[in-house]
């Protein structure tokens, strides 16, 4: 295992390719990030930006047509790409766990909920049936499922959407993982239930020191649970930093576009500013910066220069941008602010 690193998860230059009838899709194209121990990183972007593929690559649950072609994924210092499938399986549960958007399709419809929660501790921690069911009952209490003794014997279809997601959280926590990877866990829920689930997840992770990677398209949701955020576009990271700094004071025109196009609850704009055009094809992505065909600030060098994520000069906290002309975004943010 070697030395203990400060980061629980390190992703280096990750590339995921998907074979399709029309050609090779470069779904994830050189993504690098760290998640500190006990930290929470949000991964935001629109559909097709590669955020879910990144998460699935980490978990080792990519669809059959997709594969990691290069890069490193280090979980607690161990490169997952060097491990065999059965060894990775052993890590899912005690090291990393996952929560998906649609709990109904992630849960076993013909297995009692309590035993689904108890299964992980039995398999991975070697607990007896009795001890594992005690642990499941305790977890059901911790995630706020009322009347756990009775609900233990219920099936998933007897639960509401919010309660099913609580079950998923209980399963994710059942083997005390180092990190939980969430893919849009509250997108299918009502806003009041979303609020309950986000609070629950945040509190439980903080209590147990569990790290979090949180994939979503919803900017305010990311601001609820994450300390840091990384913005994805066309399979690449375009901006990264402390969540409120990035969302309220962006330094990449795509982030600015996302913020300006979403109606904000607290700040009513005269009209919303959509991002012109549509997301790039990842079979033949644009040259240079992938956002340049839709970017109002694009200049000649944006069409030719590759643009990796670079630290912003003079700013601390890991703030970085992939934009060559980020000052233009800064000017636009300041102009927005000057308006009454």
């Amino acid at each position: 295992m070697g030395t203990v690193s400060a980061s629980i998860l390190e992703v280096r230059d990750l590339h995921v390719r998907i074979a399709s009838r029309r050609g090779i899709v470069r779904a994830v194209d050189g993504v690098s990030f760290d998640v500190p121990r006990g930290g929470a990183l949000g991964l935001v972007g629109e559909s097709g930006s590669g955020k879910s593929m990144t998460l699935r690559a980490i978990l080792g649950v990519l669809p059959a047509e997709a594969r990691v072609t290069s890069g490193e994924i280090r979980l607690d210092g161990v490169d997952l790409r060097q491990l065999r499938g059965s060894d990775i399986n052993r890590l899912r549960g005690p090291k990393m766990a996952m929560i998906f958007q649609e709990p109904m399709s992630a849960l076993n419809p013909v297995m009692r909920v309590g035993w689904q929660i108890a299964e992980g501790p039995q398999v991975h921690l070697g607990l007896s049936r009795g001890r594992a069911s005690e642990r499941a009952l305790d977890l059901m209490r911790r995630v706020g499922i009322p009347d756990p003794e009775r609900r233990f014997r219920a099936y998933p279809h007897e639960f509401s959407g919010g309660m099913r997601q609580r079950v998923m959280i209980a399963i994710a926590l059942s083997c005390d993982p180092e990190i939980i990877l969430c893919d849009e866990p509250t997108t299918a829920l009502d806003v009041t239930i979303q609020d309950q689930i986000l609070r629950l997840l945040t509190r439980l992770c903080r209590e147990s020191g569990t790290s979090l990677v949180f994939v979503t398209h919803d900017l305010p949701v990311v601001a609820q649970v994450c300390h840091d955020v990384a913005v994805m576009y066309g399979g690449q990271l375009v901006e990264r930093g402390e969540v409120r700094e990035v969302l309220l004071d962006p330094r990449h025109p795509y982030t600015l576009g996302l913020v300006r196009s979403a109606p904000d609850f607290e700040y009513v704009r005269e009209s919303l500013v959509p991002i012109p055009g549509s997301p790039p094809s990842l079979i033949s992505p644009p040259s240079g910066c992938r956002f340049h065909p839709r970017c109002a600030f694009a200049e000649d060098d944006c069409r030719t220069s590759q643009t990796p994520l670079r630290p912003l000069p003079g700013v601390s906290g890991g703030r970085s941008t992939a934009c060559l002309h980020y000052e233009r975004t800064l000017e636009a943010v300041e102009a927005d602010r000057a308006r009454p």
Partner: protein
């Protein structure tokens, strides 16, 4: 655009559309199963709703899933039979089965532009059929009018020969809006029109709806679970809970001085960019909404209400204005702001703003 109805001059007290005591219920399951479970066999999706829409306004209908907002919209559009109550349009009671002319007046745009357009018809074919059946324009004007409609929603004449599958999600929603506008309706009912779209595309559709409303004088009923969208687009907001409207007010009053504890919780639950949930406080509203098959007696929100009193278990509060009659905080008159809570206008609720439920029972 000349093809559309001009805004009628009658902006008097008479609402364009009004619902009185409208109820919609669906039979579910078998009689025996209902008796064993102790549940009702009728699912009361909409349970006695009063609502008015004024000509030219944009009214939002918000609430959790299962609150009955979509069913109410279908009933208003004449696409769902009602059990009780009456729906008036322009002062006239609409019969249970509406004439073709009446159906034209209220048109709908649905959430999913992938399933609400016929995949085997081109956009032009779709519009042509509609315009012929309803005799909207003379036969020799159909092509020109179809092109005008597409221009109105920001598409080109060339798109008339395209099939729905050739469009992106946002473009499909534009086609759906053009189809609704083809009949020159007075009221456009949009049921979650942007929920299925990506954030950057949502903005184009919201801006389009806003412009159409301004340019054509359309009356808009927007159903949405997204209160930020509502705040951006609507003049008034009606909040639904378990088949009832629990609060109605001008948009700014709802957001600045909500009166019903449910509305306050709903607002507090909205994620904000400026703050996180790491403070360890409880959720805005605890628990799940009760099943519409087991609507609580008395006030139907009392099982989740942070300020419920014994009185709420027996007395069903009616939707009413502040008896005191003072002007609301948003500047509108008090009669504009209705709430169905015994304590909505009690002095203690004054300026309470969004509340958080501190004694978290559920997490």
């Amino acid at each position: 655009m000349n093809a559309m109805n001009p805004v009628t001059a009658s902006t008097g007290a008479e609402p364009l559309l009004s619902a009185r005591e409208v109820s919609v219920s669906f039979p579910v399951g078998s009689r025996a199963a209902a008796r064993i479970r102790g549940e009702e066999r009728l699912l009361r999706a909409v349970d006695g709703v009063d609502l008015e829409m004024r000509r030219g306004e944009a009214l939002a209908l918000v609430g959790e899933s299962g609150s009955g907002k979509s069913t109410l919209a279908l009933a208003l559009a004449g696409l769902q039979r009602t059990d009780r109550g009456e729906i008036r349009f322009d002062g006239r009671v609409l019969p249970a089965s509406r004439s073709r002319a009446d159906r034209r007046r209220i048109q709908m745009v649905f959430q999913d532009p992938y399933s609400s357009l016929n995949p085997r018809l081109t956009v032009g074919g779709m519009l042509r059929e509609l315009l012929r059946v309803h005799h909207v324009v003379p036969a020799n004007r159909v092509a020109a009018f179809s092109a005008e409609l597409l221009a109105l929603v920001g598409l080109g004449e060339a798109d008339l020969s395209s099939y729905p599958r050739q469009f992106s999600g946002g473009q499909r929603q534009r086609v759906a809006i053009a189809r609704a506008l083809a009949l020159r309706p007075d009221i456009l009912v949009a049921d979650e029109p942007v929920s299925a779209l990506d954030v950057s595309v949502q903005a184009t559709i919201l801006n389009l709806l806003r412009n159409l409303r301004d340019d054509l004088g359309l009356t808009l009923l927007l159903i949405s679970h997204n209160l930020a969208v509502v705040r951006h687009l609507c003049d008034r907001v009606a909040v639904m809970y378990l088949g009832r409207i629990v609060e109605v007010a001008p948009t700014e009053q709802i957001f600045s001085a909500p009166r019903h504890p449910y509305t306050r919780g709903l607002l507090a639950a909205i994620p904000r960019m400026t703050e996180g949930v790491a403070d360890g406080s409880g959720p805005a509203i605890a628990g799940d909404p009760p099943s519409p098959l087991r609507i609580p007696a008395g006030c139907r929100f009392r099982t989740r209400c942070p300020i419920a009193q014994p009185r709420c278990e027996t007395e069903d509060p009616v939707l009413a204005a502040d008896a005191g009659g003072a002007a609301g905080a948003g500047g509108g008159s008090a009669a504009e702001h209705l709430a169905a809570c015994h304590f909505a206008f009690a002095p203690t609720a004054e300026e309470a703003g969004p509340v958080r439920n501190e004694n978290e029972q559920n997490a």
